[in-house]
């Protein structure tokens, strides 16, 4: 069991993430200038989406897959709701809604890191889980805005452009490239994959390490800003994700998902968005403080998930599958 955590902790991706965090701690001038991180993240979404599509083209649609996708969407609508009520105890309406949206949505990079983790443990997961990821990104945005809209006094609330918002929610760049690459992978299938393999598969893990180095820098920079926010973000950011993850696992157990699929569902439910959601919140709930929802997802929950969360979920699944 300890090996599992240690093994994950000592894997290249996690170590590069920590290397990035330490760079800020020792005030190194190391930085990966824009727009390189954007390139790397687009590459990761491109590859994970395309690979998922190719895998999906091999699977034959069955009830379990359909139910998994449905369950994923349902989770994406429910999680932000109860997160909101927990958060509302301490936060303003706008902040509670924005943070809830972040935790209701997903983190693609956590998913990608879990992909590398599974590969290292010799496990695999179905391509439809990538579709699940894409489907789980947006609902929380709508929930978050709806909550504010329903509770807000007229004036502010009425400023929300629903058209814009739905577009932002459904066609924001990460959802779009993920679904798009998935579809293309689905169409081109195995043969199409062969030619792209060296790009979308060969250098994948290396790029991930490189990207996590930057994620380490970015998230460490955010920590300082959190210190003013008291202990609440830390409690919530570390306790709630595993709870969400366990709920994801419970659903996975009910659906009798494979080890890999179960882990991915847990990771999706347990992760929080620091890309798509903050961008949408900044537009739709500007009165919410980006200095709160962004670092909570980025500087607390993301590191927690890739260092502790992933092996923890894996462990739990191992217990029930007796694997």
């Amino acid at each position: 069991m300890l090996d599992l955590f240690l093994g994950n902790f000592l894997s290249a991706p996690v170590l590069f993430f920590i290397l990035g965090m330490l760079a800020i701690a020792v005030r190194s001038d190391l930085e990966i200038p824009a727009p390189i991180p954007k390139l790397l993240s687009l590459y990761l979404l491109f590859s994970i989406g395309f690979h998922g599509g190719v895998k999906l083209s091999q699977e034959d649609m069955n009830l379990q897959i359909v139910l998994t996708l449905v369950a994923a969407v349902v989770l994406a609508f429910i999680v932000p709701v109860y997160c909101f009520f927990i958060l509302r105890l301490k936060l303003s309406l706008a902040n509670a809604a924005a943070v809830a949206a972040a935790y209701g949505s997903i983190s693609a990079v956590t998913f990608v890191t879990a992909d590398a983790f599974l590969a290292s443990t010799g496990q695999s997961y179905g391509g439809h889980m990538v579709a699940a990821m894409a489907l789980m990104e947006s609902p929380a945005i709508i929930v978050g805005v709806l909550i504010v809209r329903l509770n807000a006094s007229k004036g502010e609330g009425s400023r929300i452009h629903w058209g814009e918002l739905m577009r932002e929610a459904c066609f924001n760049s990460s959802v779009y490239i993920l679904l798009g690459s998935l579809l293309i992978g689905l169409i081109t299938g195995k043969d199409g994959y062969e030619d792209l393999k060296p790009f979308s598969d060969g250098i994948f893990k290396g790029v991930l390490c490189f990207f996590l180095l930057d994620m380490g820098l970015v998230s460490a920079r955010r920590i300082s800003g959190l210190l003013e926010q008291g202990w609440m973000p830390w409690i919530f950011g570390i306790l709630v994700p595993p709870v969400n993850g366990m709920i994801g696992l419970a659903v996975a157990w009910l659906l009798a998902l494979s080890h890999g699929d179960a882990l991915m569902l847990a990771v999706l439910t347990g992760s929080a968005s620091y890309i798509a959601v903050p961008a949408a919140m900044r537009l739709a709930i500007p009165e919410a403080n980006p200095g709160l929802y962004l670092p909570m997802a980025l500087a607390i929950t993301f590191p927690f998930n890739i260092i502790v969360g992933i092996p923890f979920y894996d462990l739990v699944i191992g217990k029930w599958t007796g694997g």
Binding site: P37, L217, V218, R221, A279, P286, E287, N289, P290, G291
Partner: protein, 101 residues
Amino acid sequence: MQNVKRVEIITNSVELHEIEQVLNAMEISGYSIIPGVKGMGDRGRIEGDELTGVCTNVYILIACSETEAEKITAAMHPVLKRFGGICLVSEAEYLTHGSDS
């Protein structure tokens, strides 16, 4: 050379789309945009290190007539109030490619 107003707007890059729509609606003939601006303000440090545009600002420069400048600042007020940022207006002399001065 003719006298013009220099209107400078600095705000979060997620706002750019909306602001451009406002400018085009006013039929402002020209403006310039400098992306990738970092900054510090009431909403804290904008590192420009984000993977999304949430943490980058944008700088917009508009050389226009006094009346246009007033219309722009009036339109910007609610936007800046909601999303933060600043708007500066200063004097300048304008040498246009059209003018025969």
